[in-house]
Symmetry: C2
Subunit: 371 residues, 2 copies
């Protein structure tokens, strides 16, 4: 049969929407010999991962842990556990991941109320309040950082409105966590999920989530079983909690990697890390504008971790990406959904967010676009 050679892929400069690049320290930790998943040493490590996750989520929520799947799995975990058939959910859709939330919530037989805004725009508390006045729901779901558009929906005052109407607030912070403030406790968020392969700069494969007291109570008081076995938090909680009841086998090496990636976040410090993301994105934005390119999201709502750029008329969107990859090993991404073929998405996340990467990308684009 077919034989395959040693793994021998080039070192890519990952400036897409994730995975981001990963520190050699994280790669080394990941390659550490395995422990059993019920080994006391691994159980100690799980606790450490939880402490570190609480730090980046800025929360004291006990249930703060990585789901053993990618960010999409942690997204589904929030929806599957919080909603019972017939429960109402209001979902703000201003990009691809809001649509995905609608798809998931529908599968769990929730009554989905979709609030649409054009891609690239953001939601304000008044808009959510107006929608809640029309229709009371159990959960409001918003995408904090929309990976498909690069827009950041501010969370100030959001939970206050949601709670005043008796609902819970669920947020997607896949592209914000570790790269900009995600203040779960201060913002009074009820449940939130993320991924590891964006601003935390750990390889993809785990989906951190955090569950506040209201959401936890709602989950405990469910009348029906969670339809999803693998993502059932009542069992996952016991596996990660002091009981250590066997559920599944945690991805050991991925947790080694996540611990190291979070240690790096902790060493740098959240404030310094956020400032770095901001500074490098400012450098990118200036560079792109100097090339005459147009940024899609207005600066006040622009994500420092992900920038969307309009592809100029007459320029081959995919062709430029292909050349960046082939000639310079630089990866950027194209648009999704409404932005397909019309936008580039440039990520500066975690370990990828470095001035040398910005300078290189701008220089490469300059060469290509001026030809």
């Amino acid at each position: 049969m077919q034989q395959f050679s040693d793994l021998n892929t080039p070192e890519r400069i990952l400036l897409g929407p994730g995975p981001s690049m990963v520190s050699p320290r994280v790669l080394r930790a990941m390659a550490h010999p395995l422990l059993g998943h019920l080994d006391p040493q691994f159980i100690g490590l799980m606790k450490e991962v939880q402490v570190l996750l609480r730090y980046v989520f800025q929360t004291e929520n006990e249930i703060t842990l990585p789901i053993s799947g990618t960010g999409s799995a942690s997204m589904e975990a929030t929806v599957a556990n919080l909603l019972e058939p017939g429960d109402g959910i209001l979902i703000g859709v201003n990009g691809y991941f809001g649509m995905r939330l609608c798809d998931m919530a529908g599968r769990y037989e929730a009554e989905v109320h979709r609030l649409d805004k054009p891609w690239g725009e953001v939601f304000y508390p008044e808009e959510i309040e107006a929608a809640l006045q029309k229709k009371a729901v159990k959960v409001v779901a918003l995408v904090h950082a929309e990976t498909s558009t690069g827009a950041l929906t501010p969370m100030d005052g959001m939970a206050e409105v949601v709670h005043r109407h008796g609902a819970m607030l669920l947020i997607d912070c896949v592209t914000s966590l570790g790269g900009m403030p995600v203040k779960i406790d201060e913002w009074d968020i009820d449940i939130a999920y993320s991924g590891t392969q964006k601003c935390i700069s750990c390889p993809p494969g785990l989906g951190p989530l955090t569950v506040g007291s209201r959401a936890r109570q709602a989950i405990q008081q469910r009348k029906t079983n969670v339809a999803n076995w693998y993502l059932d938090l009542s069992m996952i909680e016991k596996y990660w909690g002091d009981e250590r009841t066997y559920h599944h086998t945690a991805p050991i090496s991925m947790n080694f990697a996540l611990r190291e990636a979070l240690r790096i976040v902790q060493e740098e410090g959240l404030e310094a890390r956020f400032a770095r993301h901001k500074a490098n994105s400012a450098m990118l934005w200036q560079g792109l504008e100097d090339l005459g390119l147009q940024l899609i999201v207005p600066s006040e709502h622009r994500l420092p971790s992900l920038t969307t750029v309009t592809v100029p008329d007459g320029v081959d969107e995919a062709g430029i990406r292909q050349r960046l990859l082939q000639e310079y090993n630089i990866e950027i991404a194209g648009g999704l959904g409404a932005f397909k073929g019309k936008a580039w998405r440039i990520g500066l996340m975690g370990y990828s967010s470095r001035p040398e990467n910005v300078l290189l990308l701008i220089s490469a684009l300059e060469k290509m676009l001026n030809k």
Copy 2:
């Protein structure tokens, strides 16, 4: 806040029910710098992983791929995709994982018919036929290698009976794949799932599965959506297929690791690998019996990858395991469910299946049990 030190855990000799030990080659491949998940080089690698998985599954099934979660996720993927609400499933329960299949199938609103046998025993085609004569179902699910008991249900003639009654055969080969024959095509199995952290000796985090033509057709002809978004094969198939439609972000590093682990399987060759597992387990069984210990499963149904041993009267089950770990860095496991506190489970899987590990374990047990 709390600071955590560099990862510095001991090298364990993993002789439990998984994870098994992992070759340094696999650890090195896993630590290779990341590619983007839509990078042409990664897409090429995904195809290679599929070719290699088909080799261990001994199948030509096109849909043969690793689910981006652990073995429990691939188990749930088979159930969630194959069954629609109201569909009948007959599940053979002779251990813990048969019970888990019942739990999962119930969550997808299947009509679950449970066929029980004492833990440690196996199922025969006549028994399945008798059950199908009483009640026709859409799917029969059996655990090929029961990780909780160490018993191997032979698959000869099984599919013939199941198909004659118009049903499909789903099997769990989590603890058999890569360590003993799993002949998906020759046995005419319709759908099967496994994990990576057993006889394939790749860290946990991926769940290989394979879907035959009958099962594929049944999935394509579903009248209802799959209730589970993350495990919906109609979307996963497009992500792994030629369309490469974005679904989730594949765990890049885990796929690097799986590719290398499967390359090692291929280099050794399936027959040689199965013979090695057999020889080392024979050495283990002899050693245990020489110590006066009783093996639970009769030799004709005993798994070479996992052996269950009755804990002698008056011996502290957990105490011995703890001493093995603390004094010699050897991990074995206790029993689950009906075997809790009564049995040890000793795994000799993949890279862990080596004579030096057997000799060491027997010597350590001899010291401890004779005191």
